[in-house]
Subunit: 320 residues, 2 copies
DNA sequence: TTGTAGGCGTTATCAC
DNA sequence: GTGATAACGCCTACAA
């Protein structure tokens, strides 16, 4: 099979190369019958635009990049997996492709931006795992590189577009569910203060308890089943526990058999053991990230950045 | 910051563009002192080759693609995640980048190959989830597209390079572990016959039992915790059960409390509930896939395809 | 509405 | 060992 270029198509349709290019990029400028003839030639030849050549001319690669993280302790690992799948799907629909990269820390990631940008002319980035004092966003912003973050800019001004899940709403819903089923002594098992996500999850529970006028009890531990179990043992009064993650929830289930427990992330583990858990709309979040990034890339973004807070849902199972 | 091209470097170093290109691609052909001068110019200017332009000339994109699957029922979802991370790492080391795509079925995937190949000039593919009668490999082979599969070509001749994990060795090791700890009535809980992977896992257990001269008992079910539990209930004599997946193992734990159980895949769930499980060396498998693909792409592959069978390991926890 | 000319950054070819 | 020239496939002026 010979290589099919715009010239092949032009010859077949009996027009110039430019007309073929017009049919592809600005069809409305070509006379309908010519357009039709060219389109027929395109599909009968199976012609496809060569991205490299187009990129040379336009400087746009139709490529976006996202980091794939190591599956840390694992329980929450599949969160990224689902996000990536959704992002790849949405990108394809918008005419973009997703490129993967790994990076051990923020500095390495920034070095990768630099390389990806100059070597592959990447159009934009989707950042995950935003955190306090994140140097990545300012680096990109300084260079006018289009990007969107999944996770809000903790402690920094909202100068870029982002999508996030309303963590507080999730734990609040979990707390209300427990209140509705008759519990009044509902504890919280979270992470040490300081992480944006963790603090938000705690706040949702605290607000729901305050709204109900009930006293609170809480404990904190680094993420993990064992650490969660030790910390949960300190929740002596609670008949129910809202947790910041499924890992912690698993620990709570072990340390406090018989109590009601709600986890966070609706991981495979939660499904497997029947743990009620807060579920993040990851595919939707990914789709929204892509939408916002595409807006940016196509130059049709509003002048002020867009921020989207998506509501999670509660998946009720045996434990609550 | 101006755009730095090979011409900028040439000017700075006082040589022609071609000499710069030579320093990059065939350094041994350039006089050492010139080479050094050019290299200095390159790094002081922060020059990087433009892949799009290089690709136009050479027809090589330095891009490989891999499919990201939806996180099905979830428990085994993180397997792909870990593989992807390893692949991305290994690709980066070899000078390649990984592009992601999704596809609902084999036909859609083949259509994607076609598009990726003609639009982005992809250099090669890594296929996962190979199965009986897989049409993807023959499509790629017919067109001389370089590819490697993670998973052997079930029921088809070994005409391409592949990497796989020795599933039978994994269940055999699990069975021996149970024998060593005193069990003699060891059952197998697997999937319905016909899937290459499932059959191999069953075979490893069967062989180990035969070697020990012990009678066998087995049951089959579609993958899942509930289906696993129902099927496991039929294993009335066994004091221990080797399972084809962690999902089935979880079902077995529920249906047969107190019995020894071993799962497969060492997923987060296994870690969380203390399930002994067979662990696949996913990062290594990914690295080997990349090695084989790079050999193919760089034209230094042996004339006969390479096949690699990697040994899994047993992670012993509370259940066995 | 359609066609022509040039160039994006790189490398292969072929002189010097 | 080094340098000039052409070409990869496409798109953006500009001319017809």
């Amino acid at each position: 099979m010979e290589k099919v270029t715009i010239a092949t198509v032009a010859e077949r349709a009996g027009v110039s190369r430019q007309t073929v290019s017009n049919v592809i990029n600005t069809p409305e400028v070509v006379r309908p019958e010519t357009r039709e003839r060219v389109r027929e030639a395109i599909s009968s030849l199976g012609y496809r635009v060569n991205q490299a050549a187009r990129q040379m001319r336009t400087g746009r690669s139709k490529l976006i990049a996202v980091r794939i993280e190591p599956a840390r302790d694992g329980i929450n690992g599949s969160v990224l997996d689902r996000f990536l799948h959704g992002l790849t799907d949405a990108a394809g629909l918008a005419g973009y492709r997703v490129m993967l990269y790994t990076a051990a820390d923020d500095a390495a990631e920034i070095a990768t931006y630099d390389e990806l940008l100059s070597a592959y002319d990447l159009d934009g980035f989707v950042l995950t795992s935003t955190h306090h004092g994140d140097p990545r966003t300012s680096w990109l912003a300084e260079r006018d590189v289009p990007f969107v973050t999944f996770g809000r800019p903790w402690g920094a001004p909202d100068t870029h577009s982002w999508v996030d899940v309303d963590n507080a709403a999730g734990t609040a819903a979990a707390t209300r569910r427990l209140l509705d089923t008759g519990h009044t002594r509902i504890g919280f098992l979270g992470w040490p203060a300081g992480s944006g996500v963790g603090d938000a999850r705690r706040a949702g529970w605290a607000a729901a308890m305050a709204a109900a006028g009930l006293p609170t009890e809480e404990a904190a531990a680094d993420d993990g089943v064992d650490s969660g179990a030790s910390a949960a043992a300190r929740l002596t009064n609670a008949t129910a526990v809202v947790c910041a993650s499924d890992s912690l929830a698993l620990g709570a289930m072990r340390a406090l058999p018989g109590r009601a427990v709600v986890g966070f992330d609706d991981t495979a583990v939660a499904r497997a053991v029947g743990l009620t858990s807060v579920s993040q709309p990851l595919a939707e979040a990914a789709g929204r990230c892509m939408d916002l990034l595409a807006e940016l890339l196509d130059g049709r973004a509003p002048t002020t950045p867009t921020q989207l807070l998506l509501p999670p849902s509660l998946v009720v199972r045996r434990t609550a």
